[in-house]
């Protein structure tokens, strides 16, 4: 049975080969030349298109990469713009907040309306330096200066006396004179932090101001004299005499003897 099967198998294989051979002889159709040409043309076209694409590829990716570069630049610019806006916004908030904080103690030292434009020399000196200011404020010649302002002046002196004097005076001044006075005060603060230099600078200020009163003059001269600035006090006295011929009489008695020595 098995031998018959094997024989059939081998015979079948041989027959299959013969059939296949016969088939190959019988079946020899080929596609028409027109079809061959179309297919080969398509094959060439595909290669040529790829070549053309390769030639244009350097342009396309470049354009794409350029666009990508622009995109990133645009994004960076947008971020920078936002950051700038934020930075512009935040400092403004600080600036707004700072005056509120600084102005909180301001209502306390508000001077009387008559003396508002020109701070008294006492007050200026009080803010300028601790020791002389205390000496001056011990006298009752500065009615416009309250304890609160004295405290403020002390705090300011602790930081930068001359600058604080300039700032204090500038704060209390108004109108067109403000800038000039600020300049003077800044100049004074630039010269030295010593009391004498500050006093000299302050001494020039009233001359620039409009019509100081007699009490202002006397207070100023007294302060300069007490500070040891005899020359400054003499200069102030001379100016006072120009304004008021009776200047010597208005000085305190302690200065009368000294005033006689001033020509």
């Amino acid at each position: 049975m098995s031998s018959k099967h094997d024989r059939e198998q081998s015979g079948s294989a041989g027959e299959d080969d013969a059939v296949a051979r016969a088939w190959r002889q019988a079946s020899d159709e080929r596609p028409p030349a027109r079809l061959d040409a179309e297919i080969l043309a398509a094959a060439r076209r595909s290669v040529q298109q790829e070549d053309a694409g390769a030639k244009t590829l350097p342009v396309r990716p470049q354009a794409r990469s350029r666009w990508m570069q622009w995109q990133s630049l645009a994004a960076a610019a947008a971020v920078a713009g936002l950051a700038f806006v934020l930075l512009q916004t935040l400092p403004r908030e600080r600036e707004v907040a700072a005056p509120v904080r600084m102005e909180a103690p301001a209502p306390v030292p508000a001077p009387p309306p008559a003396q508002a434009p020109t701070p008294t020399p006492d007050a200026q000196l009080e803010m300028r330096s601790d020791a002389p200011a205390r000496a001056v404020t011990a006298t009752p010649a500065s009615p416009g200066v309250g304890p609160a302002e004295r405290d403020r002046g002390t705090e300011s002196a602790a930081r930068s006396p001359a600058a604080e004097v300039a700032a204090g005076i500038a704060d209390s001044m108004g109108g067109a004179e403000t800038d000039r006075r600020k300049g003077l005060m800044t100049e004074a603060s630039g010269e030295s932090s010593s009391a004498e230099a500050s006093a000299r600078a302050v001494a020039r200020v009233p001359g620039a101001l409009a019509a100081p009163s007699a009490s202002d003059w006397t207070a100023r001269i007294k302060a300069l004299h007490a500070a040891g600035d005899v020359a400054g006090a003499a200069t102030a006295l001379r100016e006072f005499r120009k304004v008021d011929p009776d200047a010597d009489a208005q000085l305190p008695e302690s200065l009368h003897e000294w005033a006689w020595t001033v020509e």
Partner: protein, 216 residues
């Protein structure tokens, strides 16, 4: 723009160049040629096409029942697919196996589009025919029916006999004889077992042999 070339001129041009192709190119394997075409060597495709065009055309022609128009359409579709896949081609298998896998899939699509036939219905038909063949086998003798030479009448008879073979058997036979694929390769691309393929082939061969016997 690619200049339009008349089909006839192109065919002549192709034929001339095919003749002048160097022997070195002719000796390259299908896989090497396909890779060369993928790299932009259109002459490699010409060699490859010349090698396989007859077999693929006949594969479609037999399946199309001898209708040249259908065969040409299917044949063109197949090779355009090969052209389109040239850059993606990877020689993981024999080129002919890959080529006939594409051809087989195209054929299945054609059957579905033509008759709404499914593979299941084709297999049902195959089972019926196998049963008939089994009965015929019992009746047939075992003497060799084939002569040494095949004349024109025998060719016509063979073609007609294959046309009468069920589709899946016919497919296995064409893949085996025209495509030169092994049983394992046919089993792989038709997703059938090797035994099934062997069986399909056996019945196809028997039908053809019977056709030739009638000529004796």
């Amino acid at each position: 723009m690619i200049p339009a070339i008349a089909a006839g001129d192109l065919a002549l041009d192709t034929a001339r160049r095919m003749q002048s192709l160097p022997a070195e190119q002719e000796s390259r394997t299908d896989e090497v040629l396909m890779r060369a075409y993928g790299d932009g060597d259109s002459h490699a495709f010409e060699v490859l096409y010349a090698r396989h065009k007859g077999a693929t055309y006949r594969y479609f022609l037999r399946h199309a029942g001898g209708l040249a128009a259908s065969a040409e359409e299917l044949h063109q579709d197949l090779w355009l697919k090969v052209i389109g896949a040239r850059e993606r081609y990877e020689a993981q298998a024999k080129f002919s196996t890959w080529l006939y896998t594409l051809a087989h899939r195209r054929m299945i699509d054609h059957w579905r589009a033509r008759d709404g036939e499914s593979l299941a219905s084709l297999e049902d038909a195959e089972i019926l025919v196998q049963a008939e063949e089994s009965l015929a086998e019992l009746r047939d003798g075992s003497d060799d029916p084939l002569g040494a030479s095949i004349d024109f009448q025998a060719r016509q008879r063979l073609v007609a006999a294959l046309a009468s073979v069920p589709t899946l058997q016919q497919d296995a036979f064409l893949l085996h004889v025209e495509g030169g694929l092994s049983l394992e390769e046919i089993a792989g691309l038709t997703t059938a077992s090797v035994e099934t393929v062997k069986s399909r082939l056996r019945y196809a061969y028997r039908r053809l042999r019977a056709a030739l016997e009638d000529l004796q």
